[in-house]
């Protein structure tokens, strides 16, 4: 905006794109993003791919490099079937939280769509990845590609050495426990790639030494009961029980795993951890990207750099993605995070610029402050979905979406409408929605509580029922089989209701 010296000609016309147009358009988008919105982004690397490659990327959880596993093939076939049948379109883009930030754009996109996608992914998501505290704390954008390539190499090495089936079995089991392989409350130490490698070799050495009993020259202690007891307590304390990160626990204490198996578990765990922030910020991440692309495209249009036709196409796609069907609509599948995130961020801007009395009452800090850029950037950096909703969901948005909350109690033959979008309901509604977006509530709460490593090595888990909701029994049992395979001894899970968990 500042540099008006360049003549405000059209960036492109028609729907065909070429690399010159892309470059020119990206520069214009970048200008708005950096100068006007003041975003801070990783260097962009925009890759043009074909639809087959998009399907490929889909199947390996969106990562550019991935080790080989049948489940990715399964997802590929699944997506392919839907896509070929025309039941589902492909995403226009995939963006990866890495430095440089890689975005994949489909070659089928029209020029207008490419512009939209670049604004959305290469600047919206990119800014979010670079600034949100969760990503900064939990993921390592600089190292992720290196780590993935290390993981891929390591696993294919294992396959050569130990056979594909052996490796596959470990991966199957590790994948089953992937959601339970995340540190939710404490932060794992971050290691660089080299430290990682050194540590692995060190572990390997230690393991080998442990096997050579010849070196074990000290006489064994007699098993005095008091001493054994003390030792057991000691062990339990050493193992940091209870432990919520099951994969971490297995990696460190499983009595049967071999070093390479531990390393595979570690890889799966690290990848799971890498995706954990994304789970917590889906609404915000998409909202941020949508807000950014909407703002940028409108700015470009206003400056006469894209024509009406292109803008209409952009708006058409924008509103397609941001549809929120009503609950009784057959298309309804929960609240659309794109729609809600975008609506909330647009609303924050409105509150900053032209607040009404209600807003002044609800958001005294930001109402009428005018500097919506600062408020939004602050939100993008310091919140996650749950806290963002808790903090910023306004009555206006709730009214707009006509939200209502429904209570489903298994013991009652009806659903009860607990709150609706009215004066009395706003606060509760907001709490309820925030809880819904709290992964700590949505995810299972399962902890390793006890194991007697010196005795029967019986691994005991405890799952906390939230609001009396039990674990899905069939999947629970199937997952326990995997857990047993990794642990090597008997495994037991106990489901307790919320109050009971505090008791012991």
């Amino acid at each position: 905006m500042a540099k008006r010296s360049r003549k405000p000609d059209l960036l492109f016309e028609g729907s065909d794109w070429d690399f010159d147009k892309l470059q020119r358009t990206t520069e214009a988008i970048e200008e708005v993003a950096l100068q006007d919105l003041g975003l801070s982004v990783y260097t962009n690397q925009i890759e043009i791919i074909s639809s087959e490659q998009m399907l490929d990327a889909y199947s390996s959880i969106g990562m550019p490099l991935m080790y080989r596993h049948w489940s990715f093939g399964k997802h590929f076939l699944h997506h392919e079937r839907l896509y070929r049948k025309g039941m589902r379109g492909l995403a226009y883009e995939i963006v990866i939280n890495s430095n440089p930030c890689i975005s994949y754009c489909m070659e089928e996109n029209t020029m207008a769509l490419q512009a939209l996608v670049i604004a959305h992914a290469a600047f919206g998501h990119n800014h979010f990845f670079k600034n949100n505290h969760l990503f900064l704390q939990w993921t390592d954008a600089d190292g992720v590609l290196d780590y993935l390539s290390y993981a891929r190499g390591f696993i294919s090495q294992c396959e050569e050495r130990h056979g594909v089936d052996e490796v596959e079995a470990v991966l199957d089991s590790a994948h089953a426990l992937m959601p339970n392989g995340v540190f939710r409350r404490r932060r794992p130490p971050r290691l660089s790639l080299r430290e990682e490698e050194e540590r692995r070799l060190g572990r390997l050495r230690a393991e080998e030494e442990a096997v050579h009993y010849l070196w074990d020259t000290l006489p064994r202690r007699g098993a005095g009961s008091a001493a054994a007891d003390r030792e057991r307590m000691e062990r339990k304390r050493e193992m940091h029980l209870p432990e919520e990160n099951i994969l971490y626990f297995l990696e460190h204490y499983s009595p049967t795993l071999r070093p390479w198996q531990r390393e595979i578990i570690r890889i799966v765990r690290n990848i799971g951890q890498y995706f954990y922030p994304q789970k917590q910020t889906k609404l915000m991440n998409e909202g941020c990207a949508c807000f950014v692309h909407y703002y940028i495209m409108n700015e470009l249009h206003r400056a006469g750099r894209i024509n009406d036709g292109a803008m209409l196409e952009v708006l058409h796609n924008h509103s397609n993605v941001l549809t929120q069907p009503d609950f009784d609509d057959p298309r309804y599948s929960g609240i659309n995070p794109y729609a809600l995130g975008f609506a909330m961020m647009q609303d924050i801007r409105r509150i900053c610029e032209e607040p009404n009395d209600e807003d002044r009452e609800w958001f005294p800090d930001i109402a009428g402050c005018g500097d919506w850029r600062r408020v939004l950037k602050d939100a993008w950096a310091n919140y996650r979905d749950e806290s963002f909703i808790q903090q910023f969901l306004s009555p206006t948005v709730m009214r707009h979406f006509k939200m209502f909350a429904l209570v489903d109690d298994a013991s009652k033959p009806y659903y009860a409408v607990s709150h609706i979008h009215n004066e009395r309901g706003f606060l509760e509604l907001r709490d309820s929605l925030a809880r819904e977006y709290d992964v700590a509530v949505a995810d299972t709460d399962i902890q390793v509580v006890d194991v007697d490593l010196l005795g029967d090595r019986w691994l005991k888990l405890r799952s906390v029922k939230r609001n009396g909701v039990p674990l899905e029994p069939a999947d629970r049992d199937a997952t326990l089989i995997h857990l047993r395979r990794l642990w090597g001894y008997k495994v037991e899970i106990e489901e307790v209701s919320e109050g009971a968990s505090m008791a012991s």
Binding site: Q45, I48, V407, D408, A410, V417, A474
Partner: protein, 439 residues
């Protein structure tokens, strides 16, 4: 500063390895499912079952998650029309199913993953470890003969292959286009000249005319020389390509007793047996001819409909069918060119004394020509329970047992129920890996 990379030319099938792994993994599941389906399904339907969708339980990826039902949960929805706080909405009767509002947002479970098999894949798996005797040998040794097939025309070739018709029509077109004087025109001109020359004292006008005609004739002849009647350009040759011809032609004889003792049930079972054999052969051979021979006390070759559906009355003389089969082989299917397979179905009854003749015929005349001869005896379920020994049976059965003992490529089985067919069939054609061939 953005950096663009064009990845479109990168190899596409990045997940090919994953895909292969997946297919390998489901192969066992699919095979299991196919075998189960075959046991359940009517065997005659196997062929028609274009695709079987297989819920692949073994490829589910379980993890711990909360159940969709039970407990107390609260969710926020959009698009409220007229609900007020405290309203109650009846739950759908069918429990978790129905509208499933509560569960809908979680998306479809992994159970929905279906793996559709095409007919070919299905049959491939169905036949996976079935093999006809000698087929392995034969298919390994199989020398493809080739045969010339017409494949249009070319401008070069050996003179023997000149296509006269095509050449002449090209020439005609060219002559017309270039306006080559025809022989008749030249002849007419010569006649005119001749007529003028005959005039002893031509007028000046006639002399001039004569000269003009001479000139004209000269140009015509020159033109004819320049524009050839047939030009090398016109010549076309027939073009032949050598196409491999499978030398493995097979003929399958279906022999069946259609006397009154064969009821609907027996015929139906026999039909399934034939269908299955035919299916298997059609996997192996490009061309299979089917010959249906039915017999009572007298045998005749009939078409398929008559074979299965028309009724005959009369006694039962099995050997007549063998005689008929031998006759047809001699007439139409020399064993040097055809792989001969035979499947015989009967209820085991035979004119007394004839069975020995059958056995003798098989041993001396038919089996030397056949790749394989399968005999099934269709029995009552009651009967099947009583006859627990292979050695017992009626006369024909006993006689055939002698043949079976003698020859490795003769097989016989009793079947009583549709469910028996497939296992029997499998056993009949099971891969003879245990060296049974030298028997």
């Amino acid at each position: 500063m953005a950096h663009f990379v064009d990845r479109r030319l990168n190899p596409k099938d990045k997940s090919l390895g994953n895909r292969r792994r997946f297919l390998k993994r489901v192969r066992a599941q699919v095979k299991k499912a196919v075998n189960e389906t075959v046991n359940k399904r009517r065997v005659a339907d196997v062929d028609r079952g274009e695709s079987v969708s297989i819920p692949t339980d073994g490829i589910s990826e379980p993890n711990f998650h909360y159940a969709r039902e039970g407990g107390r949960r609260e969710r926020v929805f959009t698009g409220n029309k007229d609900y007020r706080a405290g309203d109650r909405i009846d739950k759908p009767r069918s429990g978790g199913g129905g509208r499933g509002r509560q569960g809908a947002a979680e998306g479809e479970g992994e159970d929905d993953f279906l793996f559709a098999l095409s007919r070919d894949e299905f049959l491939d798996i169905f036949f996976e470890d079935l093999e006809l005797p000698d087929l392995v040998k034969r298919s390994l040794k199989e020398i493809k003969t080739t045969k010339a097939h017409r494949a249009g025309f070319t401008v070069s070739g050996s003179p023997a292959n000149i296509s006269v018709k095509r050449t002449m029509s090209n020439a005609l077109g060219r002559r017309l286009a270039l306006n080559r004087p025809s022989e008749r025109e030249v002849k007419d001109l010569r006649e005119q000249i001749f007529a003028l020359e005959k005039i002893s004292r031509p007028t000046k006008k006639q002399r001039e005319e004569l000269k003009r005609l001479h000139d004209e004739l000269e140009t015509m002849i020159r033109r004819q020389k320049v524009i050839g009647y047939i030009d090398p350009l016109d010549v076309r040759y027939n073009y032949f390509v050598q196409k491999p011809e499978p030398n493995a032609k097979a003929v399958m004889f279906c022999l069946m007793d259609v006397s009154a003792s064969m009821g609907e049930r027996e015929k139906e079972l026999a039909k399934r047996f034939f269908v299955l054999l035919h299916l298997f052969l059609s996997r192996r051979y490009d061309k299979i001819e089917l010959v249906f021979v039915r017999h009572t006390h007298d045998a005749s070759e009939v078409d398929e409909d008559t074979f299965f559906y028309s009724r005959e009355t009369g006694g039962t003389v099995v050997s007549t069918a063998l005689v008929e089969m031998k006759k047809i082989i001699d007439q139409r299917y020399p064993a040097s060119e055809w792989n001969i397979y035979a499947a015989q179905a009967s209820d085991g009854e035979n004119f007394s004394g004839d069975s020995a003749r059958c056995a003798e015929m098989l041993l001396t005349q038919i089996m030397p020509l056949c790749q394989y001869f399968a005999y099934i005896e269709i029995v009552d379920e009651e009967e099947a329970r009583l006859i627990n020994s292979e050695a017992n049976g009626m006369e024909l059965w006993r006689a055939y047992r002698g043949v079976a003992a003698e020859l490795g490529n003769f097989a016989m089985k009793r079947i009583a129920r549709p469910a028996d067919i497939y296992p029997v069939f499998r056993e009949l054609f099971a891969r003879r890996s245990e060296g049974a061939e030298n028997g």
